[in-house]
Symmetry: C2
Subunit: 217 residues, 2 copies
DNA sequence: TCTTTTTGTGAAATAGACTTCACAGAAACC
DNA sequence: GGTTTCTGTGAAGTCTATTTCACAAAAAGA
C-alpha cells in the first residue's frame, strides 16, 4: 500500500511542525512549506493528493493560492485552516476551491478526520476514472464483443470460424477485429491450437455483465 | 412473462401432435408444421425462439432445412430429432447447425429438458446483447461521464457550473455534452431549479462501477 | 500436389463519438 | 436598466471506432 502525500503550508513554524508530526505519526508522507509561493514550486516536483493551507500568511494567502492550484491540478483536495472563523469566511473559502475548512484551534483528531475524509472522497472519485476501467468498459460497450463473450462463456472454447458462423456474421475479418480488441483487453485469450477462450478476467466480466443486465431491467 | 414460441416440424402426425401436446401442457406457445417447406413460410410470419425438426421427412429434411434457417435467423435454436441415431449422424446434425439432438423414441421429460436447456442458453446470450445494455455501457465507458456520476454521487445534487468547475474542465459546453448523454441514458436527471442529480438507475450504476473497479484491480 | 478452408494483416472508407467554437436566452447581480 | 454569470444549442472540425476490401500465409482435405 502506497502512502498518501500531503502538503502542509503554514508560516507559523510551531503549528506547521505540529501538523507534520501528527500526519507523519499516522503514516502519511508529508511535504512542509512556509509559504504559498514555495508550495507552488514544490507541487511541480511532487504532486500531493491533499493540501492543508493556512488562510492568513505573509505574501500569498490561502484564498489566492487555492484557485491557482485547482486550475493546474483540479483533483488535489484542499483543506483550509483559519484563525478567525466566521460563516462568511468559510463560505468564501469553499467558493475559492477549498474542499474542507478547519477553524483554529483544532484538535489532533479533528485534523485527522478531515484528512481521512477528504482522501476517501478522492479515492472514490478516482476509482471511477481508472484507465483500466476505461479500457474494459469501452470494450464491453460493443454488442458484438459481448456476444462473443457470451458464446465463449457457453461453449468454453471455440475456433475462429465457429464463432463467426455462430454469430451469423458474414465478414470474418469483422469478427477478427473484435477478437483482437478482446485479446488486447485481456478478456479473451488463444491457446496453442488457436482456439479462443475466456481469460479469468473475461469470466468475471461475463458475470458482471449479467449482474448489470439484472440491474438495468 | 411472455411465453416462448416453439415451432415443431414433423411429417408424422401422431408424433407431431404428441410433441405439441407436451409443449402446450407446459405453457409454451406452439406452431406445428408437417413439412420443412411449410415451416419456411410460417417462420416469416412469426419467428419462433426454438425449432424442433425431424431429420427424415418427405421433401426437405431437417439436415437441409437447418442451414437455411440459421442463415436468415442465426439466433433461433434448433433441436433435431431422428429415428436412426448414430454418432456420425449426431455429429453431422451439429455441423449443419443443430443446437441439440434427440434420438427417437424419447421420453416426455427428455424433450422438456432439451427445450428448457436451449431456451436458457438463448436467454443467456440475449441478456448480453440487450439494447439497454448497449446504451448504458457506452455511456459508462467515458471517463468524464464517470467522473460526473462520481461527483453527483458524493454531492447528491449540483448546479451545472459547479460540476464544470469541480472537474476542472474549462469548456462548459463539453460538460453539457456529457450531461446530455447521461440524461438520455436516464442516469442523471434535472429538477425544477436546474440542479443535476443521479436517477435511481444512476445510483445503481455507480454501485456497479465500484464493484467493477474492485474486480478489475 | 492441388484446392479449399481457416486464420489473419493492413489500408481505405465510413460512421460515430467527442471537442471546439460562435452564439443566445434566462437568471442573477449591480 | 445594464452587466455579468449561468445554462444551453447547433454547426464544424477532429479524433476514434468500426466496417469493408484486397490480399496472403498456414492448415486441412482431396
Amino acid at each position: 500500500m502506497t502512502t498518501d502525500t500531503i502538503m502542509v503550508i503554514d508560516d507559523d513554524q510551531d503549528l506547521r511542525e505540529g501538523i507534520v508530526e501528527i500526519l507523519e505519526g499516522n503514516n502519511f508522507s508529508v511535504i512542509a512549506c512556509e509559504s504559498a509561493e514555495k508550495a507552488m514550486q514544490k507541487i511541480r516536483i511532487e504532486v500531493p493528493r491533499l493540501i492543508i493551507v493556512d488562510n492568513m500568511m505573509p505574501g500569498m494567502g490561502g484564498m489566492a493560492f487555492m484557485p491557482l492550484v485547482k486550475n493546474d491540478y483540479p483533483r488535489i483536495k484542499i483543506i483550509m485552516i483559519t484563525a478567525f472563523s466566521t460563516v462568511d469566511n468559510a463560505v468564501a473559502a469553499m467558493k475559492s476551491g477549498a474542499d474542507d475548512y478547519l477553524a483554529k484551534p483544532f484538535k489532533r483528531d479533528e485534523l485527522l478526520v478531515a484528512v481521512r475524509r477528504n482522501l476517501e472522497v478522492l479515492k472514490f472519485e478516482q476509482q471511477l476514472s481508472e484507465p483500466d476501467m476505461d479500457e474494459t468498459l469501452s470494450s464491453l460497450s460493443n454488442p458484438i464483443r459481448r456476444q462473443i463473450l457470451a458464446v465463449l462463456s457457453l461453449e468454453g472454447e471455440m475456433r475462429f470460424m465457429d464463432i463467426t458462423r455462430y454469430l451469423g456474421i458474414s465478414d470474418h475479418t469483422k469478427v477478427n477485429f473484435h477478437l483482437k480488441n478482446l485479446k488486447a483487453c485481456n478478456l479473451v485469450s488463444q491457446d496453442r491450437d488457436k482456439s479462443y477462450c475466456l481469460t479469468s478476467h473475461g469470466v468475471k466480466m461475463v458475470d458482471y455483465l449479467h449482474l448489470l443486465s439484472q440491474k438495468i431491467s
